[in-house]
């Protein structure tokens, strides 16, 4: 209760939370919203483009009008509002799915390292350190390029991002597990002969919730950045599925002719990331008073 009240008193957190909630809501209701606007993300509108000038939207502000709330995409005339809203689904969907996988992997490995024997700990910790140190982007690009093109890209993206980003969670989990292990009630359970699995489930996991969730809150925007980056490099989701990173990468060739086309996906990405970071920051301040200072 106190926690909640303190959170609600934090203005930065509140702003972030509201913005984040709006984005999640937008992503969830994307088809509804586009229907409401009377548009869809794939229909071409050739009549709104100036073909002789490379297919740049006719009219000021990238073809912005009452029908096309954010204008249309150069080269295709597809409705930008619809594309951006559907792009939110990919961005958030991949980030959340990857997060769930990361937590499963990270907590599993972290607890195993913390509770396992000396050798298990040594091997798992070394693996964690390595994964943490290695620049994941390099491997992610290589991985995404060799899998057959027909595999579902969003799922693949989530898996690859998770596989390369579980180590932080594992490290924190291990540290917390080690400290929990020495607590009286856990020691008591172990002495009384409870199986390691039972100890892990009943005694350790509840204690992990706060620190792991605090950390996870920060991993989420990281995942979004990864997805956007991979899509930007062209190894992310495939067209015609819209994604912010992919839109940005096409937009880079248009920034003089149609600046709005850059600002819409770019601005949204920035605002959404900022919202989630503010949320993470607020949660940390409340749940993890040892580090009252901003982030780590």
């Amino acid at each position: 209760m106190i926690t909640l009240r303190r959170l609600l008193g934090d203005r930065a957190f509140l702003t972030g939370a509201v913005a984040a909630a709006v984005m999640v809501l937008v992503a969830l209701t994307a088809p509804l919203l586009t229907a409401l606007a009377g548009q869809d993300p794939t229909t071409y509108h050739n009549d709104l483009l100036d073909s002789a000038r490379g297919g740049v939207p006719t009219g000021a502000l990238g073809g912005l009008s009452g029908e096309h709330w954010l204008g249309v995409e150069p080269g295709t005339g597809r409705d930008l509002f619809a594309r951006v809203v559907h792009g939110a689904r990919v961005s958030l969907g991949v980030a959340f799915s990857a997060l769930v996988l990361q937590l499963l992997l990270g907590v599993g490995i972290g607890v195993a390292a913390g509770l396992g024997g000396r050798y298990a700990d040594a091997v798992l910790s070394r693996l964690t350190d390595l994964t943490l140190a290695f620049p994941g982007l390099v491997l992610a690009i290589a991985l995404l390029a060799v899998v057959p093109q027909s595999w579902p890209r969003p799922v693949l993206l989530a898996v690859v991002i998770a596989l390369l980003g579980w180590a932080g969670t594992a490290r924190i989990t291990r540290a917390e597990t080690l400290s929990l292990k020495t607590r009286d009630y856990v020691a008591a359970a172990r002495v009384s002969g409870a199986s390691p699995l039972r100890v892990a489930r009943r005694e350790i996991l509840p204690g992990l919730a706060a620190p792991v969730l605090t950390y996870a809150a920060l991993v989420l925007p990281g995942n979004m950045i990864s997805e956007a980056g991979l899509s930007f490099l062209g190894v992310g989701v495939r067209p015609p599925t819209p994604s912010w990173g992919q839109m940005l990468s096409t937009a880079t060739t248009w920034f003089r002719a149609d600046p709005l086309y850059v600002f819409i996906p770019g601005g949204l990405l920035f605002v959404t990331l900022l919202a989630f970071v503010l949320v993470a920051n607020g949660v940390r301040r409340v749940l993890d008073p040892r580090q009252s200072e901003v982030l780590r």
Partner: protein, 329 residues
């Protein structure tokens, strides 16, 4: 001490071996035949067999891997048509796509990546430590929001967004700078810096945030430590305490991080390189991945691993050198 060093080296070699094996297996299993790609259009089955033999692809996966390891130590010859292509040790493989040894390709790109990484790291450390230590001192508490903002930005902005913004502002709107086009330092140092300044800034926006935060936290903690209090009790001037004691303590975690960041930047600033069209190692990787140029992909990943492992070791040494509590023995 020597035992420890040997153990570290052995461990590093083991890690690199494991990495190479995994990457090799990964691409060996990939459902694309590099020989077909190299052979090109109008390829007859006989010619394909020749190419396969020349690339060493007619052998089993294990044998191929073994030859790869041999080549690392002794160099390697590839038969190709009438002449033989020699790949001197340490041979990371031969790119038939570009008709060059992988090591030559990497050596070609490394100066670009190193220029990018070194400049960005220098700038980030300077800005990070500057802002962080100012904010860490009570007198400059009003700078806190600035550092907080910097930190938030560091987390919330992808590097390609910063890059895009910088290009838009300085090259398109204000036209203060030309579109970046890599010029070697040895050709013209001024142009080298002029063309790299935007990529440096883009990376520094992201990196300096962490450094500023770490410096501030470290400084705050160090000011409360015993050795600082002792120094104060002895009557050392405050400025000297700050410089020689407190800041030194605060720098410890920063050193490790800097070394690691530098290593990973060398090989993985893919997005920055793409954004600014810099022909570095990251671009090499993206190109190789698109052409399924297996030896180059493996080479880049191994180079990255190598740099990370070396940086790890260097960081440990620096750590000992800079921390007043750790003594080199």
């Amino acid at each position: 001490m020597i035992g420890l060093l040997l153990r570290r080296v052995a461990g590093a070699v083991l890690v690199l071996l494991a990495l190479s094996a995994i990457v090799y297996a990964l691409f060996y299993l990939a459902p694309r035949d590099p020989a077909v790609l190299t052979c090109g259009k109008g390829c007859t089955p006989e010619r394909l067999a020749d190419v396969r033999a020349a690339m060493g692809l007619d052998e089993s996966a294990l044998t191929q891997y073994w030859h790869f390891l041999e080549g690392l130590v002794t160099g390697r010859d590839y038969p190709a048509g009438p002449d033989v292509r020699h790949c001197p040790a340490p041979c990371l493989g031969y790119s038939f796509e570009t008709d060059q040894p992988v090591t030559a390709l990497l050596a070609d790109r490394l100066p670009v990546s190193a220029s990018l990484a070194l400049g960005a790291e220098t700038l980030s450390v300077a800005v990070g430590i500057g802002a962080g230590s100012l904010a860490g001192l009570r007198r400059f508490r009003f700078l806190d929001p600035l550092v907080n903002g910097l930190v938030l930005a560091g987390y919330a902005v992808p590097v390609f967004l910063v890059g895009l913004f910088l290009l838009l502002l300085f090259c398109v709107r204000l036209q203060w700078l030309p579109f970046p086009q890599y010029v070697a330092f040895t050709t013209d140092p001024l142009q080298w810096a002029q063309n790299l300044i935007l990529p440096w800034i883009a990376l520094a926006v992201i990196l300096s945030a962490t450094y500023a935060r770490l410096t501030r936290a470290g400084l705050e903690q160090a000011l409360g430590e015993d050795y600082v209090r002792t120094a104060r009790a002895y009557g050392f001037p405050e400025r000297r305490i700050l410089r020689s004691r407190a800041l030194r303590g605060a720098l410890v975690p920063l050193v490790t991080l800097t070394a690691m960041d530098l290593a990973s930047l060398m090989a993985s600033a893919v997005l920055t390189e793409t954004m600014f069209g810099l022909p570095g190692v990251g671009q090499l990787l993206v190109g190789a991945v698109n052409q399924i140029d297996l030896p180059v992909v493996v080479g880049v990943i191994l180079l990255t691993g190598f740099l990370v492992v070396v940086a790890n070791a260097v960081a440990d040494l620096l750590y000992a050198a800079v921390d007043p509590r750790v003594q080199l023995t």
